[in-house]
Amino acid sequence: MDIINIPILKIENFLIASIQVALHDLQAVQFKDAVLQRIYESKAKGVIIDLTATDVLDSFVGRLISDIAAMARLMGTTVVITGLQPAVAITLVELGLELPGIETALNLEKGIAKLRKITESNADGSA
């Protein structure tokens, strides 16, 4: 039971995962594993985690998102969080979780633009 069903789409060189349901802890861990596995298999340069539909983000899921970003970074992949609702952002900061070092963008479109910019400048730097 309990297998998560969060589709992870690939567009250009990027993966897009949109969290549409309230994840319980086990599902959140499965989501982390699934995203990392997909990064490895697809060699994606960037990942967008879209939280438009997320209305509560507690320390457990917050930390998992930080972990995904840190692990993806080690694999050469940038994670951008999109669609964070104002109430969720305010609550995260008040809770004491500021997700330092995580890229964010207002929506999916801006997230993709940001990823393009970051991955282009990374490619320039290493060329």
Binding site: A22, L23, H24, D25, L26, D55, V56, L57, D58, S59, F60, R63, Q85, P86, A87, V88, I90, T91, E94, L95, G96, L97
Partner: protein, 133 residues
């Protein structure tokens, strides 16, 4: 007034159920989106602590009234190991697991009233409230 709701915490699924119950009640009482998120997040932290440290317990969500002000009250109770030094666990960053030690101090910041009663080897009871503005 809404009828109090009791959620038994025995698995990580119940953590989600507890925070949804708190959020639903907050919403039906007319709390705004930000307060709903604050309340739901605080309850998520406290319910997870019950699950992690006591194994099981209950979360009771009810409507309260004090004079003219209305609020939501959440009582998180367990018969777990108890907390030895309450002022210590209320500090940011203190953890005995591999957590971030943000749950209790964070939940306190998100709510208006926050009281912890704990007796070693008997259990812990946390009562918190948020008032409507």
């Amino acid at each position: 007034m809404a009828v109090p709701k009791v959620i038994t915490i025995q698995s990580d699924l119940d953590i989600v159920a507890a925070r949804m119950a708190a959020r639903d009640m907050a919403k039906s009482m007319g709390f705004g989106a930000i307060d709903q998120a604050r309340i739901a997040t605080a309850i998520s932290e406290l319910a997870r602590n019950i699950y992690l440290y006591a194994g099981e317990g209950t979360v009771t969500v009810s409507e309260v009234q004090q004079g003219v002000r209305k609020g939501i009250e959440v009582i998180c109770e367990d018969q777990g190991p108890g907390i030895e030094d309450i002022s210590l666990v209320m500090q940011d960053g203190y953890t005995t697991s591999k957590g971030m030690g943000m749950g209790l101090p964070g939940a306190k910041r998100l709510m208006d009233d926050f009281e912890v009663i704990s007796i070693m080897n008997e259990g812990t009871k946390i009562t918190c409230r948020k008032w409507k503005r």
